[in-house]
């Protein structure tokens, strides 16, 4: 039958004509399933000559000083608390320094890309520190790069607490530069200027890392007050970070 032959011939012809597209799309599905690992590693290779040096260090020094002061204060109170709980296990996570090789800190995805990956021991979920405290957590790793979701990303939710009044809260990114701190209690007595650290009860990040400073508190928010927090670490300027590797 001529019509049947035409049909078969047509199908064959379309297959021979379409196979390069099919191969391309299949290869890209592979890239998609590997979470873009080949492309990210290629980018790390290509951009290697432009990785940050140490020139911005001066700029970051003031943030570092504030970090040190807060950390000292924090360690003192923490030490006091630990004396009471001697059975609590001491954790000393190892740190890996990583250069920031790409950032999208004001777009739809508030991420940094680091020039260290699973080959250097980075894993998903590890906390990322900059001069000035916690800035985010690792959400994806490839052999040579890692993606950090910043605290300002709306996907980021970290348990924190205000040490002065021992008030627990949840730090939620809003997509803009300053994350929101939603308190659990009705009346936490938090003032502008209070230092926010990671919660001792948090399982996602190590306890007592400095995070930010409360800028203003909206007491009338329902059902519990909400505070706007300024991060201590300058996310736009940071060029080297430290990853807490366990």
């Amino acid at each position: 039958m001529p019509s049947g032959r035409w049909l078969r011939l047509g199908a064959l012809r379309s297959l021979t004509q379409l196979w390069p597209w099919l191969v391309l799309l299949l290869a890209l599905v592979g890239v998609r399933l590997s979470k873009g690992a080949p492309v990210a590693d290629l980018y790390a290779l290509v951009s290697y000559p432009f990785w940050p040096g140490t020139a911005q260090r001066e700029w970051l020094r003031s943030a570092q000083r504030l970090d040190d002061r807060v950390r000292l204060q924090q360690l003192e109170t923490d030490n006091q608390r630990l004396r009471d709980l001697l059975e609590l296990k001491q954790r000393n996570p190892e740190r890996v320094a990583a250069p920031v090789i790409g950032r999208d800190a004001a777009g739809w995805w508030q991420t940094l890309r680091l020039g260290r990956g699973s080959l250097q021991g980075l894993r998903q979920g590890q906390a990322v520190l900059a001069p000035g405290g916690l800035i985010g957590r690792i959400t994806a790793v490839t052999p040579a790069t890692a993606t950090v979701t910043l605290l300002t990303d709306p996907a980021s939710r970290v348990g924190v607490w205000v040490d002065r009044v021992s008030a627990h809260g949840l730090l939620t990114g809003t997509g803009s530069g300053r994350p929101e701190l939603r308190f659990v209690e009705k009346d936490p007595h938090v003032r502008a200027g209070d230092v926010v650290v990671t919660s001792p009860a948090s399982t996602l990040v190590p306890p007592n890392l400095p995070v930010g400073v409360v800028q203003r508190v909206n007491e009338s928010a329902d059902p519990a007050p909400v505070a706007v927090v300024q991060l201590i670490a300058p996310v736009e300027a940071v060029d080297w970070v430290q990853v807490l590797v366990r």
């Binding site: 004509q17 379409l18 799309l25 890209l28 873009g36 492309v39 950032r103 004001a106």
Partner: protein
């Protein structure tokens, strides 16, 4: 509908899009927001090659970007539709590259892509935004809430659309001239 031709090796230039997205050069930013590189590449490509190849290139680009971006939303559907639309637009008689039409089309395309992302986030996160303190069961879910979308999201949307629209007349017409010499014509065959 004519079948799509096999892709030209020049489609490998699409690899520049994720690389530029990751690098996001600081001097090409408006209010910290970088332009939509996928729109800037896809527009001249699909104008030159036609709707079928445009949509396939959009799908390829969407898969590539989707692998790199965290979160549950994807630019893939919008890119496929844009590739198709621009491929059809290239067949119309008035030559698009002679005017500032390119900027307007790129601006509309960026708006459409970002609105599709906002829509996906709103659909995923709608119920969560209504509660002041999120339900702990919803905490691992990623994405923008409705309030974020109406505050910071609008800023990102406008900055990206304006910047892409401004860059498109320059970058896209250069690419169109380049492709015209090297790619098979999608609308004269």
């Amino acid at each position: 509908m004519p079948l799509p031709r096999p892709p030209s090796p020049w489609i490998a230039t699409g690899l520049l899009v994720p690389l530029l997205t990751m690098a996001s050069p600081g001097w090409l930013k408006l209010a910290g927001v970088s332009p939509s590189w996928s729109v800037l590449w896809l527009l001249p490509w699909s104008l030159q090659t036609g709707p079928a190849e445009g949509a396939l290139a959009g799908a390829a680009l969407g898969l590539l970007l989707d692998g790199l971006l965290p979160g549950p939303v994807s630019p893939l559907p919008a890119l496929v539709l844009l590739g198709w639309w621009w491929g059809r637009r290239g067949r119309r008689p008035p030559p698009i590259e002679r005017s500032f039409n390119l900027g307007l089309v790129a601006l509309l395309g960026t708006l459409a892509m970002d609105l599709s992302l906002m829509l996906q986030w709103a659909l995923l996160q709608g119920p969560v935004a209504l509660r002041a303190v999120p339900d702990p069961a919803q905490l691992p879910r990623a994405g923008w809430t409705l309030t974020d979308l109406s505050h910071a999201g609008l800023h990102v949307l406008l900055a990206r659309a304006l910047l892409t629209g401004l860059l498109a007349p320059v970058l896209c017409s250069l690419q169109l001239l380049f492709w015209r010499r090297r790619l098979p014509d999608g609308w004269r065959t």
